[in-house]
Amino acid sequence: MIHSPYVRKAVSVQRTMGLVLIALLPGIAAYVWQAGPAILVNLALATVAAVLAEALVMSLRKRPIGLAVADLSAVLTAWLVALSLPAIAPWWLTTCAVLVAILAVKHLYGGLGQNPFNPAMVAYCTMIVAFPALMSQWPALDGLGFADQLALILGGTRELDAITAATALDSLRTGLRAAGATVEAVSQGPAFGMLGSRGWEWVAAGYALGGLFLLARGIITWHMPVAFIAALGGLAGVFWLIDPAHYGSPLFHLASGGAMLAAFFIVTDPVSGATTPRGKLLFAAGVGLIVWLIRNFGAYPDGIAFGVLLMNICVPLLDMKTQPRVFGHREAAGGDK
């Protein structure tokens, strides 16, 4: 340090990423508790793939490998990819998704901090477009032991229908297409639990808990989770009040699918998200809106990845148009002209 300041806060990218990883643990624990330890296999696979890919790129770019791997950003991406994919996704699917995230989305754009798109979400979208069937097979909670799940991951049995189940989001969407079906009727199905998919409420609660931890530690600000939850829950609430027979309740939407993971861990990705306070609100609200639209009217089970990517495109504009006012100035900062 040749110039001031000569003191620095004890923070680092590694520490930030590490805290996010820690914050994911309650959700993962609930996941294991509800769906069995298979997810751990996929998490491990994804981690190894991500670290190897990161090291490979760094050595190709002739940059210090240790530093890049140690910043934990690749590990975080790997975990988010693994948690977004079905727990019983075959090993090659998970690996491909991670490679897309690290190699294409992160490093083709210049590495950490440079990617305009959320790597985990691009990976998710690529996979759901390429392998729609595999991507919508989630393990049925009963009757599928760890050995079976492992066999599926490692590419053994392929009799999926017998042992997997559609998620609640899926069943509701497809169920409502039948004439005369109502939410009440459809949600008698085995996929439904107290709030969202059976068992997944606990996972969602685990993510939310981790999110609160991140908020408390100042790693994320309140803007994104609040705006996302308000937009998704608010929209769902309005339509549910109008027509409860055909629209899921706000709680159902928030507890299902990846809503909580998205609220605290995915829309809050700093690199590809908006950066100004107002920009963050608009960004996350935009994702919430798109998620609700896709869930109700779209062709995919959960709209989070598409919502995030669409809003990623808007980030430069959002940032530019929402520059905060500078100290002592009445009007907002540059760009907004």
Partner: protein, 577 residues
């Protein structure tokens, strides 16, 4: 009246490290072997030398006469002999040097005659001149001349005394407030009267309870109604604009001064110096300096201006692993490139640094846009955007995003998890922009000079031509009175060789013009050539029929006609202005 405190955006809470040096009372630093007193105490305050080598000076004797609007006087800090007047390196990151008076103390500390200044009977102007002649400048670091800051003496509602001292390690103001609270308030009262403020508020960070208590006690004893306010310890609460914000809620934008908004802010040390100057007639020849950091004997010393840093440091007994000395605090100070530089009026703290106390920054990583820097920035900037623009050398955009509002407080660098030296990027961007402006100014100047030269040359030509014409007219008029016309014309030509020259040039130009042919007539078909020949013939006929020039008969029309006809070849006589 100030009721509640306001917040400024951002800010950080670095370890204060005040205890190291805040304990012991202020001691007097011993006389150094030599004092190196700069005649220029700040970028603005300059003085011209009043002494010669070999001259004996008394303590407090004026050795520098204030120069210019922002100048303040400079005084001998002790009695002794002027041994040298030369350029000497200063305490500046770049080690710039400036004209200094070197005094060898005689050890007797013989004072000049000095008497209190009765500012009640004097006019305001006289009082301000007194402060200027006592060399009073702001002691908070910026060393802005106090008499200038006191301004017009009207329009200021609130006078703020800055005792916040928010930089870590520094305790000189803290000790001063603890030990000399009454004098500070007396000085502040003088300032308040001179500035015409209704209200006097002292802002002190709440991590200095003793100073707050001492100042409150003194305030209670003062008949003038002073408010002592504890402000939250949050760096940079002592930044002038931040303190004004906290105490009054007023936000002063970049480029504006507190005075424009009815508040003015003085450092507690400045108020103390004002008190000494008015109540005792003492010029500003010493200040309190904190010596701290990696030392065994941290504390505060009253140091004569001009004391070399290397003579001062041993008082604190730096430990062997000291590797640098910082001047100022760790947030905004800088490492001294050399230690033979003198203490000046703005030097508040010397920190002995060691790798243990101030470890080198970890390697820089890519920005992850976490916006921690924006959350910490008291100027409410988006430092990562500025960093981005600065890195891509998009300085125009950086300026649009208010680069120049950055007060270089270092909060953003402090909190950045990627360890990006953000402030350095901003300093660099600012200096680049300044350099470009300078270049542009220089280019503008050169262009102006060039254009002016052209203008001058043309004007001279025009003047010559006008004179010529006038003269010719005169001559013709004279001749017309008596002599025959033909010889008269000859005489006029003989009398005026310049006119002949013009005529010759005119003839040349006409000849040239006649020679010029249309360019695209080379490979024409016979028909077209015939057509052109026809046109030419017609034109010749017309030209022959018309008189050569309608105005040729008037005697003084020659020069302008030449000008307009042959501006390119004749010595131009057309005034372009």
């Amino acid at each position: 009246m100030i009721g509640r405190l306001f917040r400024f955006h951002g800010g950080i809470k670095p370890d204060a490290h005040k205890n190291e040096s805040a304990g012991p009372a202020i001691q007097r630093a011993p006389l150094p072997r030599r004092l190196v007193v700069p005649l220029r105490q700040s970028p603005r305050a300059t003085a011209s030398c009043l002494v010669e080598v070999g001259q004996e000076v008394l303590k407090g004797e004026r050795i520098g006469e204030p120069e210019g609007f922002l100048g303040t006087a400079v005084h001998a800090p002790t009695s002794g002999t002027v041994v040298d007047i030369a350029r000497h390196p200063m305490a500046h990151p770049s080690g710039l040097d400036t004209e200094c008076v070197v005094i060898e103390p005689d050890g007797e500390e013989r004072w000049i005659e000095h008497a209190p200044f009765d500012y009640h009977t004097a006019s305001r102007e006289q009082a301000l001149a007194w402060l200027r002649d006592c060399g009073i400048v702001g002691l908070g670091g910026a060393t802005f001349p106090s008499h200038v800051k006191l301004g017009k003496g009207a329009g200021i509602e609130t006078l703020i005394l800055n005792g916040a001292e928010c930089e870590p390690w520094i305790t000189c103001d803290d000790r001063l407030m603890r030990e000399r609270a009454a004098d500070i308030l007396a000085g502040a009262t003088i300032l308040r009267e001179l500035i015409g403020a209704r209200e006097l508020v002292v802002g002190i960070e709440d991590n200095k309870p003793e100073a707050i208590a001492a100042m409150k006690e003194a305030a209670a004893a003062s008949p003038h109604g002073v408010k002592v306010v504890a402000v939250p310890a949050l760096y940079p609460a002592g930044g002038e604009k931040q303190l004004i914000r906290v105490l009054t809620g007023i936000e002063i934008p970049y480029g504006k001064l507190g005075g424009d908004y009815g508040v003015q802010c003085f450092n507690v040390g400045t108020a103390h110096a004002v008190y000494r100057a008015i109540a005792h007639g003492e010029p500003l020849i010493s200040r309190i300096v904190t010596l701290t950091g990696n030392v065994d004997n941290a504390g505060n010393w009253e140091v004569l201006i001009g004391t070399p840093v290397q003579d001062l440091l041993p008082l604190a007994r730096p430990r062997p692993d000291t590797d640098r000395t910082l001047l100022g605090g760790p947030m905004m100070g800088f490492a001294l490139p050399r230690l033979d530089v003198p203490i000046v009026k703005g030097s508040n703290c010397l920190i002995s640094a060691s790798p243990r106390l101030f470890p080198p920054a970890p390697p820089e990583q890519p920005c992850i846009r976490c916006t921690e820097c924006a959350k910490a920035c008291p100027a409410e900037l988006q430092p990562f955007e500025l960093y981005w623009f600065g890195r891509s050398r998009n300085f125009g955009k950086a300026q649009e995003y208010h680069l120049f509002d950055c007060i270089e407080c270092g909060c953003c660098s402090y909190v950045c998890p990627a360890h990006i030296p953000l402030v350095d990027y901003f300093r660099f961007a600012k200096s680049e922009i300044w350099a470009r402006e300078r270049e542009k100014a220089a280019a503008d100047q050169a262009r102006d000079r060039f254009e002016f030269r052209n203008f001058r040359q043309e004007r001279e030509k025009a003047e010559k031509a006008a004179k010529l014409a006038a003269k010719a007219a005169e001559t013709r008029a004279k001749l017309a009175e008596g002599v025959a016309e033909a010889p008269a014309a000859e005489a006029a030509a003989a009398e005026d060789p310049k006119k002949a020259l013009i005529a010759a040039a005119l003839a040349r130009a006409k000849a040239q013009k006649a020679e010029v042919r249309p360019q695209n007539t080379d490979n024409l078909s016979p028909e077209t050539q015939a057509e052109i020949a026809g046109i030419e013939a017609r034109r010749k006929a017309l030209e022959a029929a018309a008189p050569p020039a309608a105005t040729a008969t008037t005697p003084n029309a020659d020069a302008p006609a030449a000008a307009s006809d042959t501006a390119a070849t004749a010595p131009g006589a057309e005034p372009r202005s």
